[in-house]
């Protein structure tokens, strides 16, 4: 990913001076950030710091009050999740957001169902495509025809990730993807995240889990009260620096870049 940064190619995503107000509350105040291919950028902060809000703006679920978003250097105006998907932006939610009473293929293709030439659902093809897509991620995934309410948290998250891969997402937003998962499932999702990164997908990772952040992220960006209070390469900060930013909004007084990159 650093190659991309150095060659001066436009970033996958560039968010400039994003503002979002709800009545008198400023949820996001003038935040700018960017994301390059094959890079994981951690978005950190307290609950209510505005990180989910910022990501919802990028995923089209919410509209910014002002500010610009560029995708691959071209201005992108996201009015709905549908628009965002057209730009290759997919989101994975902490709530394992799926339609509970439908099966895995139906969820994988939700909103973009495959249809036969008669216009009805092409269940056969959706099942075979979903089987293929899910097998690549998790060979144990066999009970495809069951309502997803019966599946484990990890399996549900795999469906969400498979959705992103199947529709060839370029930009992935992971909003605390492991918050509802157990330890082994968390490890599986972390595995998948690195796999996606290797394939050149850019990932915004919202997380509260410092271990995850240091294991997966290339850069971090910390938000406090709606503002971006610091963006660093992961080598330049340690856990305490980040906690200080999250809690106080400033770095420790004696901070200097810790990385050996300079």
């Amino acid at each position: 990913m650093l190659d991309a940064m150095q060659t001066g190619a436009p970033p996958l995503v560039q968010m400039d001076n994003i503002y979002k107000q709800f009545g008198g509350i400023h949820a996001v105040e003038g935040v700018s950030t960017d994301l390059y291919p094959g890079e994981v950028v951690g978005v950190l902060g307290h609950n209510g710091a505005g990180k989910s809000c910022l990501m919802r703006i990028l995923s089209g679920a919410m509209r910014a009050s002002s500010g610009q978003i560029h995708v691959n250097g071209a201005p992108a105006d996201m009015k709905s999740p549908h628009d965002a998907r057209a730009f290759g932006i997919e989101t994975i939610y902490q709530t394992l957001a799926l339609a509970n009473h439908l099966d895995a293929p139906a969820n994988l293709f939700m909103g973009r169902e495959l249809r036969t030439r008669f216009g009805n659902l092409d269940e056969k093809r959706m099942l075979s495509e979903a089987t293929e897509a899910l097998r690549q991620l998790n060979p144990n995934f066999k009970n495809l025809r069951e309502p997803v309410a019966r599946l484990s948290g990890g399996q549900r998250q795999v469906i969400a990730i498979a959705r992103a891969i199947y529709f060839q997402a370029k930009i992935l937003i992971m909003d605390e993807p492991t918050a509802a998962l157990g330890p082994s499932e968390t490890a599986m999702v972390a595995d998948l995240t690195l796999k996606l990164k290797q394939e050149g997908i850019g990932i915004f990772l919202i997380s509260h889990d410092m271990a995850d952040v240091f294991e997966l992220c290339d850069r971090v960006m910390v938000m406090n009260k709606g503002r971006n209070v610091g963006a660093f390469r992961i080598e330049d900060v340690n856990k305490d620096d980040i906690l200080s930013l999250i809690i106080k909004g400033t770095l420790p007084d004696d901070w200097e870049p810790r990385g050996n990159s300079r």
Partner: protein, 373 residues
């Protein structure tokens, strides 16, 4: 950390379920069991009463078909996560509008029917838009429309005709091309033939001597079957059906996946209104009059049929076939108790017991299917 994904070739948490069990356990199971139970009961207790000869069958079929028409709309709307309590008032309102347009204003009946359909589906859309825009529970919004529409249904004929029942629609509909699609009968020649060869009884006296006792299938039943087939295919075979399930299951998740949840819900409100208007039109064409009290409590009867049929009150789960069976159970019990000579006031007791039994059975089945606890 990759250790977690390895070393588990076979996931012991996945339980194998036999094909038979899988085929058996479906949302409609409660409805199927109920239908079998109800028919068994009446075959044993009321077989000789005429309930199962041609006239008797037609009698409870028509009543069941009425329930079916409104149950299909209520079912799809409930799966989409919303209620419509204004169905009963909508039936009264639609019938009254047809009467006012065709009799009081003397418009051609086909025009009266069409305008009424447009008007009622539009009111359904308003219901939907208010629910979507305000985020209020549809329970409250449509409760308001229950009163508003019923109020107008009483007000308009009072002011225009100084009475609460407008008749004379049969005369107005004479020779109309659209009216037979709601008030007519099909299959007359087949029934005549069945009467001739002795499959069904014929009148032995009177002006209709020699004619079969049942001279055709009312369009009401044709509409009911048509709507059930349409609803079932829409729900299970199209992507719109998937969206209905998703919108009712978790609207936020559906929205995030790019499902146009608002459009789905508004369309379902419109479809419910459409079904209510079909019911009203058939009723008006059959009776030849519209009354201000028509359709009272129909909204609950529709919801009961849907719930007997296995749908979840909170949305996201259900079946049109189940709702149709629920309507059949409802109709057969209502008419069957009459044939069996049971005191008619006990009908409500039976209905309550069936509703309770069905809901308990359905909850159990649903847990088997979805693994909820």
């Amino acid at each position: 950390m990759s250790a977690a994904t390895q070393g588990a070739d076979k996931d012991e948490r996945i339980k194998e379920i036999s094909r038979f069990r899988q085929a058996l356990i479906r949302p409609e199971l409660g409805g199927i069991v109920g239908t079998v139970a109800v028919f068994t009961f009446f075959l044993l207790t009321a077989f000789d009463s005429g309930m199962f000869n041609a006239q008797g069958v037609m009698n409870w079929s028509v009543v069941s078909a009425q329930f079916m028409i409104i149950a299909v709309g209520a079912c799809l709307l409930m799966i989409a996560g919303e209620f419509d309590l204004s169905v009963g008032s909508m039936i009264g309102f639609a019938g009254m509008m047809i009467a006012i347009f065709s009799v009081t204003l003397a418009w051609p009946v086909w025009l009266a029917i069409m305008i009424t359909f447009v008007l009622c589906v539009f009111i359904g859309a308003i219901n939907g838009f208010i629910v979507i825009r305000t985020g209020l529970p549809s329970f409250i919004v449509t409760l308001a429309f229950l009163f508003i529409l019923r109020g107008f249904t009483i007000f308009f004929p009072q002011v225009l005709e100084r009475k609460t029942i407008i008749g004379g629609i049969k005369d107005a509909a004479e020779g109309d091309w659209l009216a037979p699609f709601f008030g007519g009968k099909v299959g007359g020649p087949i029934f005549e033939w069945m009467g001739n060869v002795g499959l069904i009884e014929t009148f032995s006296r009177g002006t209709r001597a020699g004619q079969p006792v049942v001279d055709g299938i009312p369009m009401l039943i044709v509409w009911a079957i048509g709507l059930v087939i349409f609803g079932h295919i829409l729900l299970t075979r199209t992507r719109f059906g998937n969206w209905i399930f998703a919108a009712g299951g978790d609207a936020e998740a559906a929205r995030n996946s790019g499902v146009p949840v608002n459009r789905v819900k508004v369309l379902m409100f419109m479809f419910t209104a459409f079904c209510a208007t079909v019911f009203a039109t058939c009723q008006v064409m059959e009776f030849g009059s519209a009354g201000a009290d028509r359709g009272l409590l129909k909204e609950f009867e529709a919801i009961i049929a849907v719930v007997i049929g296995g749908a979840l009150l909170t949305g996201g789960y259900g079946s049109v076939i189940g709702a149709a069976l629920g309507a059949l159970i409802f109709g057969v019990v209502q008419q069957g108790l009459f044939f069996a000579g049971v005191e008619s006031s006990l009908f409500r007791v039976f209905l309550g017991l069936i509703l309770l039994g069905a809901v308990i059975l359905n909850t159990y089945i649903r847990r088997l299917i979805t693994g909820e606890r």
